[in-house]
Protein backbone atom coordinates (compact mmCIF):
# COMPACT_ATOMS: atom_id res chain seq x y z
CA UNK A 1 0.00 0.00 0.00
CA UNK A 2 1.46 3.33 -0.98
CA UNK A 3 0.21 5.71 1.62
CA UNK A 4 3.51 7.60 1.46
CA UNK A 5 2.93 9.13 4.83
CA UNK A 6 6.40 10.48 5.43
CA UNK A 7 5.23 14.08 5.78
CA UNK A 8 3.03 12.91 8.63
CA UNK A 9 6.12 12.79 10.82
CA UNK A 10 6.41 16.57 11.02
CA UNK A 11 6.05 18.11 14.44
CA UNK A 12 7.12 14.96 16.23
CA UNK A 13 10.69 16.10 16.76
CA UNK A 14 12.03 15.08 20.19
CA UNK A 15 12.51 17.88 22.73
CA UNK A 16 16.12 18.97 22.96
CA UNK A 17 18.03 18.63 26.20
CA UNK A 18 17.97 21.90 28.13
CA UNK A 19 20.19 23.26 30.88
CA UNK A 20 18.68 23.92 34.30
CA UNK A 21 18.32 27.73 34.17
CA UNK A 22 16.81 27.34 30.72
CA UNK A 23 14.09 25.25 32.32
CA UNK A 24 13.13 27.35 35.37
CA UNK A 25 13.83 30.84 34.05
CA UNK A 26 10.99 30.91 31.47
CA UNK A 27 8.60 29.90 34.25
CA UNK A 28 9.93 32.31 36.86
CA UNK A 29 10.16 35.32 34.56
CA UNK A 30 6.42 35.93 34.06
CA UNK A 31 5.80 35.52 37.82
CA UNK A 32 8.50 38.06 38.67
CA UNK A 33 7.22 40.50 36.07
CA UNK A 34 3.62 40.12 37.27
CA UNK A 35 4.55 40.69 40.92
CA UNK A 36 6.84 43.71 40.48
CA UNK A 37 4.14 46.27 39.73
CA UNK A 38 1.73 45.42 42.57
CA UNK A 39 4.63 45.28 45.05
CA UNK A 40 5.71 48.77 43.97
CA UNK A 41 2.13 50.00 44.36
CA UNK A 42 1.90 48.42 47.78
CA UNK A 43 5.13 50.10 48.86
CA UNK A 44 3.88 53.46 47.58
CA UNK A 45 0.60 52.99 49.41
CA UNK A 46 2.45 52.05 52.60
CA UNK A 47 4.84 55.03 52.62
CA UNK A 48 2.13 57.47 51.62
CA UNK A 49 -0.19 56.53 54.46
CA UNK A 50 1.80 55.10 57.37
CA UNK A 51 2.22 57.30 60.45
CA UNK A 52 -0.45 59.81 59.45
CA UNK A 53 -3.29 59.57 61.95
CA UNK A 54 -5.45 62.03 59.98
CA UNK A 55 -5.28 60.08 56.77
CA UNK A 56 -8.61 58.80 55.49
CA UNK A 57 -6.79 55.98 53.73
CA UNK A 58 -5.37 53.40 56.11
CA UNK A 59 -1.98 51.80 55.48
CA UNK A 60 -1.87 48.30 53.94
CA UNK A 61 -1.16 46.57 57.22
CA UNK A 62 -4.38 47.86 58.82
CA UNK A 63 -6.34 46.69 55.79
CA UNK A 64 -4.72 43.29 56.09
CA UNK A 65 -5.75 43.10 59.78
CA UNK A 66 -9.27 44.18 58.93
CA UNK A 67 -9.43 41.54 56.22
CA UNK A 68 -8.44 38.89 58.75
CA UNK A 69 -10.97 40.23 61.24
CA UNK A 70 -13.70 40.20 58.62
CA UNK A 71 -12.88 36.64 57.72
CA UNK A 72 -12.06 35.05 61.07
CA UNK A 73 -12.76 37.64 63.82
CA UNK A 74 -10.69 37.93 66.97
CA UNK A 75 -9.05 41.33 66.30
CA UNK A 76 -11.63 44.13 66.50
CA UNK A 77 -14.62 42.11 67.69
CA UNK A 78 -17.13 44.60 66.30
CA UNK A 79 -20.29 44.17 64.25
CA UNK A 80 -18.26 43.25 61.16
CA UNK A 81 -16.01 40.62 62.68
CA UNK A 82 -16.35 37.17 61.15
CA UNK A 83 -19.11 38.28 58.76
CA UNK A 84 -17.22 38.02 55.49
CA UNK A 85 -18.62 34.62 54.56
CA UNK A 86 -22.21 35.90 54.88
CA UNK A 87 -21.58 38.83 52.54
CA UNK A 88 -19.45 36.83 50.17
CA UNK A 89 -22.02 34.06 49.90
CA UNK A 90 -24.80 36.59 49.29
CA UNK A 91 -22.84 38.30 46.53
CA UNK A 92 -21.69 35.07 44.92
CA UNK A 93 -25.21 33.68 44.85
CA UNK A 94 -26.50 36.87 43.20
CA UNK A 95 -23.64 36.96 40.72
CA UNK A 96 -24.03 33.34 39.66
CA UNK A 97 -27.83 33.39 39.94
CA UNK A 98 -28.12 36.47 37.73
CA UNK A 99 -25.49 35.07 35.39
CA UNK A 100 -27.30 31.73 35.10
CA UNK A 101 -30.59 33.47 34.38
CA UNK A 102 -28.85 35.63 31.75
CA UNK A 103 -27.49 32.46 30.14
CA UNK A 104 -30.89 30.80 30.09
CA UNK A 105 -32.47 33.80 28.38
CA UNK A 106 -29.62 35.15 26.21
CA UNK A 107 -28.39 31.88 24.68
CA UNK A 108 -31.66 30.74 23.05
CA UNK A 109 -32.61 34.32 22.19
CA UNK A 110 -29.23 34.97 20.59
CA UNK A 111 -29.49 31.79 18.55
CA UNK A 112 -32.96 32.72 17.34
CA UNK A 113 -31.94 36.27 16.46
CA UNK A 114 -28.78 35.05 14.76
CA UNK A 115 -30.34 32.29 12.68
CA UNK A 116 -33.93 33.36 11.98
CA UNK A 117 -34.20 36.55 9.90
CA UNK A 118 -37.73 37.45 10.99
CA UNK A 119 -36.80 37.25 14.68
CA UNK A 120 -33.74 39.38 13.97
CA UNK A 121 -35.78 41.98 12.10
CA UNK A 122 -38.27 42.15 14.97
CA UNK A 123 -35.90 42.24 17.94
CA UNK A 124 -32.52 43.49 16.82
CA UNK A 125 -33.37 47.23 16.49
CA UNK A 126 -34.87 47.28 19.99
CA UNK A 127 -31.84 45.56 21.45
CA UNK A 128 -29.46 47.89 19.66
CA UNK A 129 -31.21 50.88 21.24
CA UNK A 130 -31.42 49.40 24.73
CA UNK A 131 -27.87 48.13 24.78
CA UNK A 132 -26.03 51.48 25.14
CA UNK A 133 -28.07 52.28 28.26
CA UNK A 134 -25.65 51.69 31.14
CA UNK A 135 -26.83 48.93 33.42
CA UNK A 136 -26.50 51.22 36.42
CA UNK A 137 -29.00 53.62 34.86
CA UNK A 138 -31.56 50.88 35.30
CA UNK A 139 -31.17 50.95 39.09
CA UNK A 140 -33.95 53.46 39.91
CA UNK A 141 -36.35 51.72 37.57
CA UNK A 142 -35.36 48.33 38.93
CA UNK A 143 -36.07 49.52 42.46
CA UNK A 144 -39.54 50.64 41.42
CA UNK A 145 -40.33 47.43 39.59
CA UNK A 146 -38.62 44.89 41.87
CA UNK A 147 -38.65 46.86 45.10
CA UNK A 148 -35.77 47.87 47.34
CA UNK A 149 -33.66 44.88 48.09
CA UNK A 150 -31.83 41.90 46.69
CA UNK A 151 -34.21 41.41 43.77
CA UNK A 152 -33.07 44.67 42.19
CA UNK A 153 -29.44 43.63 42.59
CA UNK A 154 -30.26 40.30 41.03
CA UNK A 155 -31.93 42.05 38.10
CA UNK A 156 -28.97 44.34 37.50
CA UNK A 157 -26.57 41.39 37.50
CA UNK A 158 -28.84 39.63 35.05
CA UNK A 159 -28.89 42.67 32.77
CA UNK A 160 -25.13 43.18 33.03
CA UNK A 161 -24.40 39.61 31.98
CA UNK A 162 -27.24 39.47 29.45
CA UNK A 163 -25.95 41.83 26.74
CA UNK A 164 -22.44 40.45 26.29
CA UNK A 165 -23.76 36.89 26.13
CA UNK A 166 -26.53 37.88 23.71
CA UNK A 167 -24.36 39.94 21.39
CA UNK A 168 -21.61 37.33 21.21
CA UNK A 169 -24.06 34.48 20.69
CA UNK A 170 -25.67 36.35 17.79
CA UNK A 171 -22.25 37.05 16.32
CA UNK A 172 -21.17 33.42 16.78
CA UNK A 173 -24.15 31.76 15.15
CA UNK A 174 -24.17 34.29 12.29
CA UNK A 175 -20.52 34.06 11.36
CA UNK A 176 -20.30 30.35 10.64
CA UNK A 177 -18.18 29.78 7.54
CA UNK A 178 -20.58 29.01 4.63
CA UNK A 179 -18.16 26.32 3.49
CA UNK A 180 -18.95 24.27 6.59
CA UNK A 181 -22.64 24.15 5.68
CA UNK A 182 -21.69 22.87 2.23
CA UNK A 183 -19.38 20.29 3.77
CA UNK A 184 -22.06 19.13 6.19
CA UNK A 185 -24.77 18.88 3.56
CA UNK A 186 -22.65 16.93 1.09
CA UNK A 187 -21.90 14.53 3.95
CA UNK A 188 -25.61 13.99 4.52
CA UNK A 189 -26.18 16.35 7.46
CA UNK A 190 -29.07 18.66 6.57
CA UNK A 191 -31.86 20.66 8.17
CA UNK A 192 -32.10 20.99 11.95
CA UNK A 193 -29.22 18.54 12.45
CA UNK A 194 -26.94 21.18 10.91
CA UNK A 195 -27.80 23.53 13.74
CA UNK A 196 -26.56 21.12 16.38
CA UNK A 197 -23.62 19.68 14.47
CA UNK A 198 -22.35 22.79 12.70
CA UNK A 199 -23.77 26.07 14.00
CA UNK A 200 -23.48 25.36 17.72
CA UNK A 201 -19.92 24.05 17.77
CA UNK A 202 -18.79 26.75 15.34
CA UNK A 203 -20.34 29.44 17.55
CA UNK A 204 -18.93 28.04 20.78
CA UNK A 205 -15.80 30.23 20.92
CA UNK A 206 -17.89 33.39 20.54
CA UNK A 207 -20.48 32.18 23.02
CA UNK A 208 -17.69 31.47 25.41
CA UNK A 209 -16.20 34.94 25.01
CA UNK A 210 -19.67 36.33 25.74
CA UNK A 211 -19.97 34.24 28.88
CA UNK A 212 -16.60 35.40 30.12
CA UNK A 213 -17.42 39.05 29.50
CA UNK A 214 -20.87 38.55 31.03
CA UNK A 215 -19.50 37.06 34.21
CA UNK A 216 -17.01 39.89 34.45
CA UNK A 217 -19.82 42.44 34.14
CA UNK A 218 -21.85 40.55 36.72
CA UNK A 219 -19.07 41.16 39.27
CA UNK A 220 -18.90 44.82 38.30
CA UNK A 221 -22.61 45.36 38.61
CA UNK A 222 -23.13 43.44 41.85
CA UNK A 223 -21.59 46.20 43.95
CA UNK A 224 -23.86 48.86 42.44
CA UNK A 225 -26.83 46.56 42.83
CA UNK A 226 -26.12 45.96 46.50
CA UNK A 227 -25.47 49.58 47.37
CA UNK A 228 -29.04 50.52 48.07
CA UNK A 229 -31.49 48.79 50.34
CA UNK A 230 -29.62 45.51 50.67
CA UNK A 231 -28.43 44.29 54.09
CA UNK A 232 -25.91 41.68 53.02
CA UNK A 233 -23.41 41.46 50.23
CA UNK A 234 -19.98 42.90 49.52
CA UNK A 235 -21.52 45.99 47.92
CA UNK A 236 -23.68 46.51 51.01
CA UNK A 237 -20.78 46.47 53.48
CA UNK A 238 -18.69 48.70 51.26
CA UNK A 239 -21.49 51.28 51.21
CA UNK A 240 -22.16 50.93 54.93
CA UNK A 241 -18.46 51.18 55.82
CA UNK A 242 -18.17 54.31 53.69
CA UNK A 243 -20.89 55.99 55.74
CA UNK A 244 -19.03 54.99 58.92
CA UNK A 245 -15.70 56.14 57.47
CA UNK A 246 -14.32 52.62 57.91
CA UNK A 247 -12.14 52.86 54.81
CA UNK A 248 -10.22 49.70 55.74
CA UNK A 249 -13.46 47.74 55.36
CA UNK A 250 -14.13 49.43 52.02
CA UNK A 251 -10.70 48.41 50.74
CA UNK A 252 -11.05 44.90 52.17
CA UNK A 253 -14.34 44.53 50.30
CA UNK A 254 -12.66 45.71 47.11
CA UNK A 255 -9.87 43.19 47.53
CA UNK A 256 -12.30 40.34 48.10
CA UNK A 257 -14.32 41.30 45.00
CA UNK A 258 -11.15 41.51 42.93
CA UNK A 259 -9.91 38.16 44.16
CA UNK A 260 -13.19 36.33 43.61
CA UNK A 261 -13.83 37.99 40.26
CA UNK A 262 -10.37 36.83 39.21
CA UNK A 263 -10.93 33.29 40.51
CA UNK A 264 -14.27 33.06 38.80
CA UNK A 265 -12.72 34.22 35.52
CA UNK A 266 -9.94 31.67 35.88
CA UNK A 267 -12.53 28.95 36.42
CA UNK A 268 -14.34 29.94 33.24
CA UNK A 269 -11.03 30.02 31.36
CA UNK A 270 -10.19 26.54 32.63
CA UNK A 271 -13.50 25.17 31.38
CA UNK A 272 -12.97 27.05 28.13
CA UNK A 273 -9.56 25.55 27.51
CA UNK A 274 -11.03 22.09 27.97
CA UNK A 275 -14.00 22.74 25.73
CA UNK A 276 -12.18 24.73 23.05
CA UNK A 277 -8.96 22.77 22.76
CA UNK A 278 -9.64 22.61 19.01
CA UNK A 279 -9.56 26.36 18.57
CA UNK A 280 -6.14 27.87 17.83
CA UNK A 281 -7.06 31.05 19.71
CA UNK A 282 -8.33 29.28 22.85
CA UNK A 283 -6.59 25.91 23.15
Amino acid sequence: MTTLASDTEEGAAPAREMSRPAIWWPRLRPVLLAVTFPLAMLAFWHFATVGRPGSLIPPPYEVWQELQDLAFGGINDDAYSKTLHIHLLASISRVYGGFALALVVALPLGMLIGRIPIVRQMLDPTIQILRPVPVTAWLPLAMIIFGLGPRSAFFLVFLGAFYPILVNTIFGVRSVEPRLFEAASMLGCTGPAQFFRVVLPAALPSIFTGMRLGLGFAWVVIVVGEMTGVQTGLGAIIMEARQLSRTEIVISGMIVIGAFGFLSDQLVMLIGRRLLAWSPSHG
Binding site: T3, L4, D7, T8, R179, L180, M186, G188, W278
Partner: protein, 259 residues
Protein backbone atom coordinates in the same frame (compact mmCIF):
# COMPACT_ATOMS: atom_id res chain seq x y z
CA UNK B 1 -27.02 -3.69 -17.54
CA UNK B 2 -28.24 -0.23 -16.71
CA UNK B 3 -24.82 0.85 -15.50
CA UNK B 4 -23.23 0.26 -18.86
CA UNK B 5 -25.64 2.53 -20.68
CA UNK B 6 -26.72 5.16 -18.20
CA UNK B 7 -23.85 7.54 -17.31
CA UNK B 8 -23.25 8.09 -13.60
CA UNK B 9 -23.33 11.85 -14.23
CA UNK B 10 -24.82 13.64 -17.16
CA UNK B 11 -25.06 17.33 -17.96
CA UNK B 12 -27.52 18.14 -20.73
CA UNK B 13 -27.23 21.58 -22.30
CA UNK B 14 -26.58 23.12 -18.90
CA UNK B 15 -26.44 26.89 -18.46
CA UNK B 16 -26.04 29.09 -15.44
CA UNK B 17 -26.76 32.79 -15.13
CA UNK B 18 -25.96 34.65 -11.92
CA UNK B 19 -27.28 38.05 -11.14
CA UNK B 20 -24.76 40.24 -9.43
CA UNK B 21 -25.71 43.78 -8.40
CA UNK B 22 -28.60 43.63 -10.84
CA UNK B 23 -26.35 42.56 -13.72
CA UNK B 24 -26.76 39.14 -15.26
CA UNK B 25 -23.52 37.20 -15.60
CA UNK B 26 -23.49 34.10 -17.75
CA UNK B 27 -21.18 31.67 -16.00
CA UNK B 28 -21.89 28.69 -18.17
CA UNK B 29 -23.63 28.10 -21.51
CA UNK B 30 -24.76 24.91 -23.22
CA UNK B 31 -22.50 22.48 -21.38
CA UNK B 32 -22.87 18.80 -22.29
CA UNK B 33 -20.92 16.17 -20.41
CA UNK B 34 -21.35 12.45 -19.81
CA UNK B 35 -19.31 10.76 -17.10
CA UNK B 36 -19.02 6.98 -17.02
CA UNK B 37 -18.71 5.14 -13.75
CA UNK B 38 -15.08 4.78 -12.75
CA UNK B 39 -13.86 7.54 -15.02
CA UNK B 40 -11.32 10.15 -13.92
CA UNK B 41 -12.18 13.45 -15.56
CA UNK B 42 -10.32 16.72 -15.30
CA UNK B 43 -11.99 20.02 -16.09
CA UNK B 44 -9.42 22.58 -17.12
CA UNK B 45 -9.63 26.19 -18.21
CA UNK B 46 -8.82 29.78 -17.33
CA UNK B 47 -10.63 31.44 -14.45
CA UNK B 48 -14.21 32.36 -15.32
CA UNK B 49 -14.64 29.41 -17.67
CA UNK B 50 -17.33 27.92 -15.46
CA UNK B 51 -15.44 24.81 -14.37
CA UNK B 52 -16.15 25.37 -10.70
CA UNK B 53 -19.77 26.24 -11.48
CA UNK B 54 -20.12 22.95 -13.33
CA UNK B 55 -18.64 21.09 -10.37
CA UNK B 56 -20.85 22.86 -7.85
CA UNK B 57 -23.92 22.01 -9.90
CA UNK B 58 -22.86 18.36 -9.96
CA UNK B 59 -22.54 18.57 -6.18
CA UNK B 60 -26.03 20.07 -5.93
CA UNK B 61 -24.84 23.29 -4.26
CA UNK B 62 -26.24 25.30 -7.15
CA UNK B 63 -29.12 24.73 -9.52
CA UNK B 64 -28.80 25.14 -13.27
CA UNK B 65 -30.62 28.01 -14.95
CA UNK B 66 -31.10 25.90 -18.10
CA UNK B 67 -30.71 22.24 -18.88
CA UNK B 68 -30.51 19.15 -16.69
CA UNK B 69 -27.99 17.77 -14.24
CA UNK B 70 -28.53 14.05 -13.83
CA UNK B 71 -27.05 11.29 -11.70
CA UNK B 72 -27.90 7.79 -12.87
CA UNK B 73 -30.50 9.50 -15.03
CA UNK B 74 -32.23 11.16 -12.05
CA UNK B 75 -32.19 14.95 -11.57
CA UNK B 76 -29.77 16.27 -8.95
CA UNK B 77 -31.86 18.33 -6.56
CA UNK B 78 -29.36 19.10 -3.82
CA UNK B 79 -26.16 18.01 -2.11
CA UNK B 80 -25.98 14.42 -0.96
CA UNK B 81 -23.60 11.75 0.28
CA UNK B 82 -23.40 10.04 -3.13
CA UNK B 83 -21.41 13.03 -4.44
CA UNK B 84 -18.62 14.01 -2.08
CA UNK B 85 -16.80 17.29 -2.50
CA UNK B 86 -13.17 18.06 -1.70
CA UNK B 87 -12.66 21.81 -1.42
CA UNK B 88 -9.47 23.74 -2.03
CA UNK B 89 -9.81 25.30 1.43
CA UNK B 90 -10.46 21.84 2.95
CA UNK B 91 -13.75 22.71 4.69
CA UNK B 92 -12.87 20.54 7.69
CA UNK B 93 -14.78 20.98 10.94
CA UNK B 94 -12.20 22.64 13.18
CA UNK B 95 -13.86 21.38 16.39
CA UNK B 96 -13.63 17.74 15.38
CA UNK B 97 -10.53 15.56 15.54
CA UNK B 98 -9.26 13.89 12.39
CA UNK B 99 -11.16 10.75 13.37
CA UNK B 100 -14.42 12.59 14.02
CA UNK B 101 -14.13 14.60 10.81
CA UNK B 102 -13.85 11.34 8.89
CA UNK B 103 -16.69 9.84 10.94
CA UNK B 104 -18.97 12.85 10.35
CA UNK B 105 -20.72 11.34 7.33
CA UNK B 106 -21.33 7.89 8.80
CA UNK B 107 -22.60 9.54 11.98
CA UNK B 108 -25.02 11.69 9.98
CA UNK B 109 -26.42 8.53 8.52
CA UNK B 110 -27.08 7.06 11.94
CA UNK B 111 -24.40 4.38 12.04
CA UNK B 112 -23.57 2.83 15.40
CA UNK B 113 -20.56 4.07 17.32
CA UNK B 114 -18.68 0.84 16.65
CA UNK B 115 -19.35 1.04 12.89
CA UNK B 116 -18.29 4.69 12.77
CA UNK B 117 -15.10 3.87 14.63
CA UNK B 118 -14.30 0.99 12.30
CA UNK B 119 -14.98 3.03 9.16
CA UNK B 120 -12.99 6.04 10.28
CA UNK B 121 -10.04 3.90 11.41
CA UNK B 122 -10.01 2.20 8.01
CA UNK B 123 -9.88 5.47 6.10
CA UNK B 124 -7.41 7.07 8.51
CA UNK B 125 -5.10 4.22 7.61
CA UNK B 126 -5.84 4.57 3.91
CA UNK B 127 -4.56 8.14 3.92
CA UNK B 128 -1.73 7.38 6.32
CA UNK B 129 -2.78 9.53 9.27
CA UNK B 130 -2.70 6.84 11.99
CA UNK B 131 -0.49 8.99 14.23
CA UNK B 132 -2.79 11.98 13.88
CA UNK B 133 -6.20 10.43 14.47
CA UNK B 134 -6.92 12.46 17.61
CA UNK B 135 -5.42 15.72 16.43
CA UNK B 136 -7.47 18.78 15.48
CA UNK B 137 -7.28 20.27 11.95
CA UNK B 138 -5.41 23.42 12.97
CA UNK B 139 -2.50 21.24 14.05
CA UNK B 140 -2.17 19.65 10.58
CA UNK B 141 -0.24 20.73 7.50
CA UNK B 142 -2.13 21.58 4.31
CA UNK B 143 -1.36 18.22 2.74
CA UNK B 144 -2.59 16.36 5.81
CA UNK B 145 -5.78 18.43 5.90
CA UNK B 146 -6.49 17.54 2.30
CA UNK B 147 -5.93 13.87 3.13
CA UNK B 148 -8.55 14.16 5.85
CA UNK B 149 -10.93 15.85 3.40
CA UNK B 150 -10.47 13.01 0.90
CA UNK B 151 -10.86 10.33 3.58
CA UNK B 152 -13.99 12.03 4.86
CA UNK B 153 -15.63 11.78 1.45
CA UNK B 154 -14.52 8.18 0.93
CA UNK B 155 -15.72 7.14 4.39
CA UNK B 156 -19.18 8.30 3.41
CA UNK B 157 -19.35 5.84 0.48
CA UNK B 158 -19.38 8.59 -2.11
CA UNK B 159 -19.75 7.21 -5.64
CA UNK B 160 -18.52 10.40 -7.24
CA UNK B 161 -15.72 12.50 -5.78
CA UNK B 162 -15.83 16.12 -6.89
CA UNK B 163 -12.57 17.97 -6.39
CA UNK B 164 -12.30 21.73 -6.75
CA UNK B 165 -8.61 22.54 -7.26
CA UNK B 166 -7.87 20.47 -4.18
CA UNK B 167 -4.10 20.66 -4.43
CA UNK B 168 -3.93 24.28 -5.57
CA UNK B 169 -2.85 25.63 -2.19
CA UNK B 170 -0.19 23.00 -1.55
CA UNK B 171 3.54 23.14 -2.19
CA UNK B 172 4.86 21.28 -5.24
CA UNK B 173 6.28 18.29 -3.36
CA UNK B 174 3.14 17.66 -1.37
CA UNK B 175 1.03 18.19 -4.45
CA UNK B 176 2.89 15.52 -6.42
CA UNK B 177 2.68 13.05 -3.58
CA UNK B 178 -1.05 13.60 -3.17
CA UNK B 179 -1.56 13.21 -6.93
CA UNK B 180 0.17 9.82 -6.74
CA UNK B 181 -1.92 8.80 -3.76
CA UNK B 182 -5.13 9.94 -5.41
CA UNK B 183 -4.45 7.86 -8.53
CA UNK B 184 -3.59 4.94 -6.25
CA UNK B 185 -6.84 5.21 -4.30
CA UNK B 186 -8.88 5.79 -7.45
CA UNK B 187 -7.49 2.75 -9.27
CA UNK B 188 -8.06 0.56 -6.22
CA UNK B 189 -11.59 1.68 -5.39
CA UNK B 190 -13.22 2.24 -8.76
CA UNK B 191 -14.40 5.70 -7.79
CA UNK B 192 -15.58 8.24 -10.30
CA UNK B 193 -13.64 11.50 -10.04
CA UNK B 194 -14.47 14.92 -11.44
CA UNK B 195 -11.45 17.11 -10.83
CA UNK B 196 -11.20 20.84 -11.50
CA UNK B 197 -7.75 22.28 -12.06
CA UNK B 198 -5.99 25.05 -13.91
CA UNK B 199 -2.69 23.15 -14.07
CA UNK B 200 -2.22 21.41 -17.40
CA UNK B 201 0.36 18.96 -16.10
CA UNK B 202 -1.91 17.93 -13.24
CA UNK B 203 -4.76 17.26 -15.66
CA UNK B 204 -2.63 15.11 -17.98
CA UNK B 205 -1.14 13.20 -15.07
CA UNK B 206 -4.48 12.38 -13.47
CA UNK B 207 -7.20 12.16 -16.07
CA UNK B 208 -8.67 9.55 -18.36
CA UNK B 209 -10.34 12.42 -20.13
CA UNK B 210 -9.54 16.13 -20.04
CA UNK B 211 -12.39 18.56 -20.68
CA UNK B 212 -11.13 21.94 -21.87
CA UNK B 213 -13.31 24.92 -21.07
CA UNK B 214 -13.08 28.59 -21.97
CA UNK B 215 -14.52 31.78 -20.54
CA UNK B 216 -16.84 34.53 -21.70
CA UNK B 217 -19.40 32.90 -21.37
CA UNK B 218 -18.09 29.73 -19.75
CA UNK B 219 -18.44 26.71 -22.02
CA UNK B 220 -16.96 23.34 -22.91
CA UNK B 221 -14.66 23.56 -25.92
CA UNK B 222 -13.12 20.18 -26.37
CA UNK B 223 -12.49 16.82 -24.79
CA UNK B 224 -9.32 14.75 -24.99
CA UNK B 225 -8.92 11.13 -24.01
CA UNK B 226 -5.50 10.77 -22.41
CA UNK B 227 -4.41 7.28 -23.42
CA UNK B 228 -1.04 7.32 -21.68
CA UNK B 229 -0.39 4.21 -19.60
CA UNK B 230 -0.34 4.58 -15.83
CA UNK B 231 1.68 5.34 -13.74
CA UNK B 232 2.45 8.26 -15.96
CA UNK B 233 5.90 9.67 -16.47
CA UNK B 234 5.68 13.45 -16.53
CA UNK B 235 9.05 13.69 -18.28
CA UNK B 236 8.28 11.38 -21.21
CA UNK B 237 7.95 12.64 -24.77
CA UNK B 238 4.31 11.59 -25.04
CA UNK B 239 3.50 13.49 -21.87
CA UNK B 240 5.17 16.59 -23.27
CA UNK B 241 3.24 16.30 -26.51
CA UNK B 242 0.01 16.33 -24.53
CA UNK B 243 1.26 19.27 -22.58
CA UNK B 244 2.02 21.20 -25.78
CA UNK B 245 -1.35 20.36 -27.32
CA UNK B 246 -3.41 21.38 -24.29
CA UNK B 247 -1.28 24.43 -23.70
CA UNK B 248 -1.90 25.68 -27.24
CA UNK B 249 -5.61 24.90 -26.82
CA UNK B 250 -5.84 26.98 -23.66
CA UNK B 251 -3.60 29.68 -25.03
CA UNK B 252 -5.66 30.18 -28.20
CA UNK B 253 -8.57 31.36 -26.06
CA UNK B 254 -6.45 34.02 -24.43
CA UNK B 255 -5.43 35.30 -27.84
CA UNK B 256 -9.00 35.23 -29.07
CA UNK B 257 -10.26 36.94 -25.98
CA UNK B 258 -7.59 39.61 -26.19
CA UNK B 259 -8.24 40.22 -29.88
Amino acid sequence: MAEATVPILEMKNVGKIYSQNGRAIEALRGANLKVKKGEFICLIGASGCGKSTLLRMAAGFEAATHGDNLMWGMPITGPGPSRGMVFQDYGLFPWLSVRDNIGFGPKSRGRTTAEIRETSDHFIELVGLQNFADVYPHQLSGGMKQRVAIARVLANDAEVVLMDEPFGALDAMTRERLQDELVEIWSRTGLTVLFVTHAIEEAIFLADRVVVMSPGPGRIDNEYIIDLPRARDTTSNEFNEWRRLLSSQLHSHHVRKAG
